[in-house]
């Protein structure tokens, strides 16, 4: 009886051990490209990454992609005078911010699409009203061309390919999860509670990734 129990316990441990394989998030912009090595064409998997950028934050300080090195971060597009989607999305993102408040490896990049009105001083007041402290959550300002290029060609490519998403990529309330190598690992509807919960779970998984 004791031997049977022992075998069962070992079996259970092995099974549990096998299931303990760390979860891994998908790569949303993975591409298979042809690579030529010694005249032979081979297929190679590459991951599209967020390119270098140079923008201004709510303190009128220059923020570059280097400021997000060694961190995972959540990116979004918004404007301070938005009366509908953006306030809900940012109220939800604030919950995420509070959860990871003391984790220096978690950052946020909120890009304004209203570049004429949302100058750094306006965003400073907006951040203060939301209760954001420190500089883990950056409110980013750039020229129209810089912001729309980043949105259309990089962060929002995935959401544009999603047929279910309506037009106006910059006003869909999407939260984009980016890993430490600047690869997109998740896109979540920031206006839906369940999606924001999933974002938080996925951030935990991503933080454990080696």
């Amino acid at each position: 009886m004791k031997i049977t129990t022992l075998i069962f316990a070992i079996g259970l441990t092995v099974v549990t051990g096998c299931n303990d394989k760390p979860e891994k998030l998908p790569y949303l912009q993975m591409e298979i490209v042809d690579n030529e090595v010694n005249g032979k064409i081979t297929k190679d998997t590459t991951f599209r990454t967020i390119p270098d950028f140079k923008l201004y934050n709510q303190d009128s300080t220059i923020v570059t992609s280097k400021d997000f090195d060694n961190s995972i971060y959540v990116a979004d597009f918004f404007f301070t005078s938005c009366p509908t989607i953006c306030p809900t999305m940012h109220r939800n993102l604030f919950k995420v911010y509070k959860k990871f408040e003391n984790n220096a490896e978690v950052k946020y990049a909120s890009h304004t699409i209203d570049v004429k009105y949302d100058k750094p001083s306006v965003m400073k007041a907006y951040a203060k009203k939301m209760g954001i402290k420190g500089n883990n959550w950056q409110f980013l300002w750039g020229t129209r061309d810089e912001i729309y290029a980043l949105a259309e060609r990089n962060y929002m490519v995935y959401t544009k390919e999603d047929n279910k998403a309506p037009g106006g990529f910059a006003h869909q309330g999407y939260l984009i999860l980016v890993d430490k190598q600047k690869r997109i690992r998740g896109a979540y509807d920031g206006t839906v509670d369940a999606e924001v919960q999933k974002l938080m779970t996925d951030m935990d998984i991503l933080l454990k990734e080696k």
């Binding site: 009366p83 509908t84 129209r144 259309e152 106006g168």
Partner: protein
Amino acid sequence: MKKLITISAIIIFAIACKPKADIKTIKADTMKLHDVVMANHSKIIDNQMKIDTLLRNLNDLKSKFPAVDTVNEKAEMMKLLADLVKAEESMNDWMHNFNGEFNSKTDAAIFNYYQKEHDKIAKVDQLYQTEIKKSNTYLSKFNK
């Protein structure tokens, strides 16, 4: 007598509650329309950027489409761009002046405020549709 009081109370209650329901509806409709316009906002910006690029590269345009008169095209592009910017500005003005928490002493005043805002954003919606269609038609000439 009791019946009369009850009926009167119901009527008073119905009258008192109606504007509140109307306010809720008109506010929701205004917000819905705002989201429709915002869905087109990216297209307005996108077409501005495409025309900007064409204007910066008129020599390339001439080499790809030798038949075009670049002087005329430039003038047309400048006009289209100005119209797109004007449409964008009308949306920006609406957003920056809109007060989603407008309050007043009377329900009628609140209702009137949202009704006016609804009419204003409906005009912006029309303008966006016109300018998008116009600029799309122009850009399609150059496969953009």
